[in-house]
Symmetry: C2
Subunit: 505 residues, 2 copies
């Protein structure tokens, strides 16, 4: 029919047309997302590789013109750098990335950096400049644009410099349209919260007015680096098994199960194959299509696989989380807890929860919730997030708490696969396994805060009671003395002292 003109578009074109789903809906959101995406790439290029991050972000007006909403954004890091040959593709081609592995990282879609460059290009028509070195003898400086219709990088210029002091890191400089004055509160909130969960990073931000924001490292130890992991049998589908079969060297299903799946040893492999009804020596490469479906279904239904090992994850740990909270919120009371590793559809995850009371903790009409995933703060779209739903469902009075009191809840989820609702990474989807851990984590720290508050309240009440006691005791003593016909009053100070000591224990 005349009305149905079919058309093929490139991945770059798809994200160009749908930039709002990747966090680039308008000039306010875009400038926030640009800073966020480049900063997260920098954190991913440092901390997991054992490098204490030093990140410098500068936002300035293009040509010093303060009247237009056009900016230059420059982000520098001391990360691992990108091999020269990969720079054009890694930055200017969609769906080309180092993040397509089963491993915990901040980036997962592998398109934040390229999306940022694309947004800069379509709003300012200027190229991106990327300077990088892996610590090799040369530093490469590329000037690049994206051929959006073809999803290919365009190399406008390439310069090579000597790297005598073996610097390693990456510098990205783009031009973009943005609305900094409106985005500023969210950007600063984002940086503050990033400092809470990355207290081992130095972050410097210079804004267009020349204001300097410095978040200094207070912890010198990095969390254990995440490791790449094998797929857990519970999270496998037919496509994945096909792909593994295509490359496997195993000749028997018994080897196959042990070689390619997470935490499958010989005994478990044997028990599983027996459960699934496959002979141990069947050749995986000769399975028929229906047999593969049967194998996958059995993997899903077999209950004796070991739960995923959280060794591949990189949670913050209670120490670092507490240090981060103390540093930025200076609360009167803080409690943190790390839940035991759990899994949803074969993806391991760990939930960490904190609660802070008093000090610099803000109090609002609603409960203050800080959300984090794989060490990145989520500052938009709170009401669509699983943690928000849980916070709202809790009966806070049970813990002596109410909205409006100065307390904040922190929830951090780390996983090889965070269940994001959107490519813009702002909301976490509601998976029962994840919700349960969040709920239990919040209950745990809320209980601790509840105990603290009720003890505080009791001490206050006892103090009041003792002061009443202290007021009337001399009268009572005097009266009793007279009634007993004695002359010398007993020493009431000793009694009061003892009562006080009793209360304080």
């Amino acid at each position: 029919m005349a009305d149905q003109a079919f058309q093929e578009i490139s991945p770059a074109d798809f994200f160009y047309r749908n930039k709002e789903i990747a966090g680039f809906a308008n000039p306010v959101r875009a400038i926030f997302s640009a800073i966020r995406e480049l900063m997260e790439n920098s954190l991913d290029a440092t901390e997991p590789l054992g490098i204490l991050p030093d990140i410098y972000i500068r936002l300035s007006f293009i040509d010093d013109n303060e009247d237009e909403n056009l900016f230059v954004l420059r982000v520098e890091d001391n990360g691992s750098g990108i091999p020269a040959d990969y720079v054009p593709l890694a930055f200017c081609q969609f769906l080309f990335s180092s993040k397509y592995k089963l491993k915990q990282s901040r980036g997962t879609f592998g398109l934040g950096g390229t999306m940022t460059i694309l947004y800069g290009q379509i709003t300012t028509n200027r190229p991106v400049k990327v300077i990088s070195s892996t610590g090799a003898p040369k530093i490469y400086e590329y000037t690049l644009m994206i051929d959006i219709e073809r999803n290919r990088p365009i190399i406008l210029d390439r310069k090579i410099y000597d790297n005598s002091d073996r610097w390693h890191g990456t510098i990205v400089e783009i031009s973009l349209e943005g609305d900094y004055s409106k985005a500023m509160p969210k950007i600063l909130e984002y940086l503050k919260q990033t400092a809470i969960v990355n207290p081992y990073a130095n972050i410097t931000f210079v804004d267009p007015r020349g204001r300097l924001y410095k978040f200094e490292r207070t912890v010198l130890t990095l969390p254990p680096p995440p490791k790449e992991t094998l797929p857990h049998p519970h999270g496998v589908d037919v496509e994945m098994v096909y792909r593994i079969i295509r490359v496997t060297k195993c000749r028997t299903l018994l080897d196959f199960m042990q070689e390619h799946f997470h935490r499958v040893g010989k005994r478990i492999a044997q028990r599983f194959l027996d459960f699934a009804g496959f002979p141990e020596d069947a050749d995986p490469r000769r399975l028929k299509p229906e047999e593969i479906v049967r194998l996958v279904q059995a993997m899903r239904n077999f209950n004796e696989f070991l739960p995923p090992d959280a060794n591949c994850l990189s949670p913050l740990g209670e120490e670092i989380l507490k240090a981060g909270i103390m540093k930025e919120l200076e609360p009167e009371f803080v409690a943190v807890t790390q839940r035991k590793p759990s899994a949803y559809s074969g993806h391991p995850f760990i939930v960490e929860v904190g609660i802070a009371y008093g000090g610099k903790v803000p109090s609002g009409e609603d409960i203050v919730l800080y959300r984090f995933a794989n060490k990145i703060p989520l500052v938009y779209d709170e009401s669509g997030d699983v943690s928000w739903k849980i916070v709202k469902s809790i009966n806070w009075r049970k813990y002596g708490l109410m909205p409006g009191m100065p307390f904040a809840v922190l929830v951090h989820i780390c996983s090889t696969k965070v269940p994001w609702k959107t490519v813009g990474k702002e909301m976490i989807a509601d998976r029962p396994e994840v919700s349960r851990e969040i709920l239990n984590g919040i209950r745990d720290v809320a209980r601790q805060l509840g105990i603290y508050l009720s003890r505080k309240e009791r001490v206050k009440r006892e103090k009041a009671r003792l002061s009443v006691f202290a007021k009337y005791l001399p009268k009572i003593a005097e009266f009793s003395t007279r009634l007993a016909g004695k002359e010398k009053m007993p020493d009431i100070n000793e009694i009061l002292r003892r009562a006080r000591r009793l209360e304080e224990d």
Copy 2:
């Protein structure tokens, strides 16, 4: 660095890895999304082309096995059909679609159907069957799979049948894993709400237990079909202007502006070029990169462009909306309003709002909100949606309303570009222009309901007052008669009649 293995993946692979962002997070969501995506493709293949939709959906257990969560889903429509050569690409290649145009349609990302087929394939390893004809002398039946790593269709089989009675339409049959019993409430809610906003469609659904759900057409007129439109100057970016320049035949900017942009006539083009500082006879194909940026910036800032014309949109209209509400909710009171067309970033949109009270309207703890976009109901993730935010912000007491009362709010947004937050199309983003129209629309109908309820209340009160009056009037009359020393009492019935008549006016 050893740790950074770069990899290129295909668009099919990207969505395979991230199926949760397209609405296929788990077996419950997946079976809902599969029905929804195929049904919306069917609606898009009928109504906009002037065909009254007849849609038949059947979900059945694979091999009649009720123990496993494996289903066959078959969706038939009487739509325009797909030209035979396009079938493999349209169904089994990502980013190949007929929806990449500036036009209002239910689908926008052009990947719902392919995503559904992919999900079926990775859970059951079975191919999809597509039978289609455009009303030509032949019907084509394809058996297809997706090569996910290459993003290409695999044609397993193709059959050709005679089409002597010139049938047109499409039949899609896939196998998939799902959790129907858990998804059922949402699926039925989705079908009911689809019937509300598409009262001109016949929809039949047969579920795996053989239960039949029929939603019959009650309106024979279709809304005006949406038209393809030119981009509005306010929504243009540098990339778009480049693309237009590459294909334009215009030799002067004056022609260029009139030919390629929405509602730009000669006088406005002249005033704009004067504002932007370009000569009218400049050749668009010779603009320098910085000049293109300047042109785009000027388009964004020029205030005299005409607002987008809503002729290209296809709203329901107050009649159809009212008919749909009456049909499914049978309320005691209903008010609907269609707001004037407006635009955000150059995309025209229209908001339609309804309110229904009493009858079959459910009442819950919270306010009941039905959300629609381009005639599709949104039944997941309510709390992340702009309409929910607005409904929560309204002071309902002002209109004599409170949560818990049996009233429901309906919000329908239609646009050439709905500001979706996610590829799964469940939440609409908060754009100030859109929020304002929703707010004003809700206020308008809420006011009407408020007036209805306060009149109802007043009538009730007046009735009560009159009944008191009627009770005491005879006594008063008797007493007055005696006091006046008269014998005959006046006719009080006449007075009561007149009071009642006064109240009823």
